[in-house]
């Protein structure tokens, strides 16, 4: 199929999600493997861009401290190459919850500061529950990214430390959230007032932490 797509002139995205805590081992070893497989995507499979997604073996999420660190270190190590790098989003909490929005924002901040060029998401509730994904999660992903652009990395790391610490103890009891049908008007495709209030609350928390988010 790849041969056909290349001949057709399509944009080729190669996706690979290294598992933290799997065969590779710890954060450093997983990052080394992540860089190797990212380079393989361009060398062997003629990728035009690479979609990463370091995932935590215990929680099945990309928003954990360790997986953020792996993705950020891999992107920063490859920054000088001008390769186009993307990352994808799998928070543990479901839509219409503050935790889901804060997890998504944390990854957007980390991906943006480490130089990634495209953010793809978000598959809330680990991307495994039917209809538990909505546009509001993409809104926080984009707005957090826009607010991070150009910030000093030391300031970004300070925000991330506080932000990740605020949710990482709650993975086991993460809120399941609501289905799209319960947090949007399905006919008009407008988010409910409840979800807008949850969103405003998450934005206020991010501002308190020092992120100048709209």
């Amino acid at each position: 199929m790849l041969a056909g797509w290349i001949a057709q002139g399509n944009t080729i995205m190669i996706e690979q999600m290294p598992i933290f805590g799997g065969y590779s081992g710890g954060v450093e070893e997983t990052t080394i493997c992540d860089i190797a497989t990212t380079l393989a995507s361009f060398t062997i499979y003629n990728a035009n861009y690479h979609l990463d997604g370091p995932i935590h073996i215990r929680w099945g999420i990309t928003t954990a401290r360790e997986t953020l660190q792996i993705a950020a270190h891999a992107a920063a190590a490859l920054d000088h190459t001008d390769l186009l790098l993307a990352n994808q989003y799998y928070p543990v909490a479901g839509p219409c919850t503050e935790m889901c929005l804060l997890e998504t924002a944390a990854q957007a901040i980390s991906d943006t500061a480490s130089g990634r060029e495209l953010l793809s998401g978000s598959a809330a509730a680990k991307g495994v529950v039917q209809d538990k994904t909505t546009g509001m999660e993409a809104r926080i992903m984009g707005e957090a990214a826009a607010a991070t652009c150009g910030m000093k990395i030391s300031d970004v790391n300070e925000i991330l430390e506080k932000l990740v610490s605020s949710y990482e103890g709650n993975y086991k009891t993460a809120p399941a959230g609501k289905k799209f049908q319960d947090c949007y008007d399905v006919k008009t495709v407008k988010p409910t007032d409840e979800y807008l209030k949850v969103y405003d609350g998450a934005v206020a928390k991010l501002r308190d932490l020092g992120l100048n988010i709209n």
């Binding site: 070893e29 080394i32 380079l39 060398t43 130089g115 060029e117 994904t133 809104r139 970004v156 790391n157």
Partner: protein, 201 residues
């Protein structure tokens, strides 16, 4: 030695067929962890508390370790049970041949996808969507519209239609193809409803 040329997928396929035979368990349990640990030690790679690294030297050592991991270990083809290997020169030619920027989408909905270099002032491309999460057939258009209508979103990524005309979209059945075609129509409808018909999918 200089690379003959950047590899293409045909070269890679042929090289896969001639690769060294390795048992999958050896690859998973010995070769990958053993080589990754050895390179971590060789390049003295140790992360601190920072999530985003600032140490330029660490970033350079990490790149060298990743490059050496690919060149010395290769890539495993699980179907064939063989290892494809590439040279450092071929990796560098691959990087050189990769487009430096892309345009995603068309006309007024097009977005330029280009290197940012560190935490640049330029915003990353925002690709909104369920990223492969399951989505009901009945609300597929509406869920995709909820992303397409967001001002900050530049391009779309699909969810997976859970059923098609009530049938499961199982792999290797005709329903899989029917579901895929329905997904494409639904995403196009969502873009049109959001007033962004040329947005990239």
């Amino acid at each position: 030695m200089a690379a003959v040329r950047p590899l293409n997928v045909f070269d890679a396929y042929d090289r896969n067929l001639k690769g060294k035979k390795v048992a999958e368990a050896d690859w998973d349990y010995k070769i990958i962890p053993g080589n990754a640990t050895a390179l971590k030690e060789k390049y003295n790679i140790k992360f601190g508390k920072e999530i985003v690294p600032e140490d330029k030297d660490l970033k350079e050592r990490l790149f060298q370790a990743g490059l050496e991991m690919l060149v010395t270990t290769g890539i495993y083809n699980a179907d064939l049970g063989r290892v494809l290997t590439v040279s450092e020169e071929e990796v560098m030619e691959g990087i050189k041949k990769t487009p430096k920027w892309l345009v995603l989408g068309e006309n007024r909905d097009a977005v330029r996808f280009e290197p940012r270099r560190g935490n640049a002032a330029k915003k990353p491309v925002i690709q909104g969507g369920p990223t492969g999460a399951p989505v009901s057939e009945e609300v597929f258009v509406q869920i995709m519209q909820s992303y397409a209508q967001e001002a900050i979103v530049d391009t779309l990524v699909n969810g997976v239609m859970a059923t098609i005309e009530g049938h499961g979209a199982s792999t290797n059945t005709p329903w899989e193809i029917r579901a895929m075609m329905a997904e494409l129509r639904a995403v196009r409808e969502a873009k049109i409803r959001a007033g962004r018909p040329y947005m990239a999918i």
